[in-house]
């Protein structure tokens, strides 16, 4: 009897393993919108992984992978604001709720967890959509990041050029791992 149970247990573990979906080229872009100028940047080097068995979801993006239309903006972003050498990555780890793996079509989900960037971890609840595709899941989300919450200091002289709250857009195509 106990052998059967051990077998079942191991099978469950293996099944759980197969319910992992991941990508290394998720897209994260952001927009700082002010009357003076709009600053956009995008990274296509974000990684994401999700475990359907327990709903755990994690994102990670190298700060240096965000590219801007102007090289100087990129330098300022890394050197003055994000201090990307000291804090090279932004991460989110949390749990997704409201997902029905059997359902087809886009469904609204919520991820609750911790967003860490610029060395400051903030509890966040982010809503987005997930949609089952042939080989995995497509995940889309939009959320806002207030600079002050992550100790990102914007000097007075540039407050007209840089928004206090940054709009972030995220698109990940997760494939079975």
């Amino acid at each position: 009897m106990k052998y059967i149970l051990l077998f079942v247990c191991c099978t469950v573990a293996t099944l759980a393993q197969a319910q992992r979906f991941a990508t290394r080229d998720a897209r994260i872009s952001f927009l700082s919108e002010t009357p003076v100028e709009d600053i956009r940047a995008e990274s296509t080097e974000a990684s994401a992984i999700m475990d359907l068995a327990n709903g755990q979801l994690a994102f990670q993006v190298p700060i240096l992978s965000f590219h801007f239309p102007k090289a100087l903006m990129e330098e300022h972003f890394n050197e003055n604001y994000m201090e990307s050498e000291r804090f090279p990555k932004a991460t989110f780890r949390g749990t997704v709720s409201g997902l029905d793996p059997a359902q087809s079509g886009a469904q609204n989900v919520t991820a609750k967890g911790v967003l860490e960037m610029h060395g400051v971890a903030v509890e966040r609840e982010v809503s987005g959509t997930m949609e089952r595709t042939g080989s995995g899941w497509v995940l889309d989300a939009q959320f806002e990041v207030p600079c002050a919450a992550h100790d990102i200091d914007i000097p007075k002289v540039v407050t007209e050029n840089i928004a206090e709250v940054i709009a972030v857009t995220l698109h990940a195509e997760l494939k079975a791992k």
Binding site: M1, K2, I4, L5, L6, V8, C9, C10, V12, A13, A16, A22, R24, S47, I49, D51, N54, Q56, A58, Q60, P62, L64, H67, F68, P69, K70, A71, L72, E74, E75, H76, N78, E79, N80, E83, E85, R86, P88, T91, R93, V157, V158, K177
Partner: protein, 293 residues
């Protein structure tokens, strides 16, 4: 019954280890994909003070540099500590790629025109790859002064001189960057027959960040032995970089008055120990004129 208990125990154990592992496992996925990343912004501007840093203009970026070296500080009130009397250099540096830059400049010192090219051909990387960045710089200088009327026949080619250098740089920490800069100076014409046409220098420079917008910089160039005694001395400069957003202001004190390579590397005549110093600045203003992608 005993079987059930053992089984349940095994199951919960399994589930527990799985549960504990799950989050770490997820993060492991990120570590697996780790690749070496380029270390950027070792220095703030294209020059540490006088000498080239490893930085180049980004792709499509035009950097306008306006630099002044005033007169001797030791001239005192009479010349307002040198401010009455400025040498000027205006330059444009354009980024062909993020690593390759071409530039032109004009200095009032010797009425010198320059054309230069700079290429960072090895990037410093973190997590594997090169521990230093390597940047090559070559500049052609044309002396624009009228030839003296002394009976000696000079041709236009005699106005030309070249400097080739290699910048070996390492950003040691977010605050401290170092550079080692060996240079070769070639002059098509020198003042007298004994003087060597070629002279080498070994230079070193640093940048230390005080905060995100302010850094202390310094550089020193040692003139390698020459065949004959001359009046030329080693160049030493100390300064501050101030970043204001669109501009980088570099303020410094130096014993070299010329702002192009031949002048400050090989033809510096003022000495720190005599108090013959010049106050000066470089202002860098960047314009994005071309497409980045």
């Amino acid at each position: 019954m005993r079987g059930w208990i053992v089984g349940a125990l095994a199951l919960s154990c399994c589930a527990l280890t799985h549960g504990v592992n799950a989050q770490d496992d997820l993060m492991d996925f990120f570590d697996e994909g780790e690749s070496p990343s380029v270390v950027t912004s070792a220095f703030k501007a294209g020059r540490i003070i006088n000498v080239q840093s490893p930085e180049t203009s980004g792709k499509g970026e035009m950097n306008f540099i306006i630099a002044h070296r005033f007169g001797r500080i030791s001239d005192g009130w009479y010349a307002l500590f040198g401010l009455d009397n400025a040498q000027m250099r205006m330059g444009l540096d354009y980024g062909v790629t993020d690593q390759l830059q071409v530039g032109v400049a004009r200095s009032s010192f010797g009425k010198t025109l320059e054309a230069n090219v700079k290429w960072r051909f090895v990037e410093q990387k973190k997590g594997g790859g090169s521990p230093v960045s390597l940047t090559g710089y070559s500049v052609l200088m044309r002396d624009g002064m009228r030839f003296p009327i002394d009976g000696i026949v000079r041709k236009d080619v005699h106005r030309i001189s070249y400097v080739h250098q290699l910048v070996v740089s390492r950003k040691c920490s977010p605050e401290l960057s170092l550079a080692l800069v060996p240079s070769l100076v070639h002059r098509n014409l020198v003042d007298n027959a004994e003087m060597a046409n070629d002279v080498g220098t070994i230079g070193a420079g640093f940048r230390y960040k005080l905060n995100n917008r302010l850094s202390v910089n310094g550089e020193y160039h040692y003139l390698l032995p020459r065949p004959v005694e001359d009046d030329f001395v080693n160049s030493l400069s100390l300064g501050l970089d101030i970043e204001t957003g669109g501009h980088v202001f570099q303020l410094h004190v130096t014993n070299s008055r010329g702002m192009f390579e031949r002048a400050f590397l090989a033809e510096t005549t003022s000495r720190w120990q005599d108090g013959d110093l010049y106050f000066g600045f470089n202002i860098n203003r960047v314009f994005q004129v071309g497409d980045r992608r």
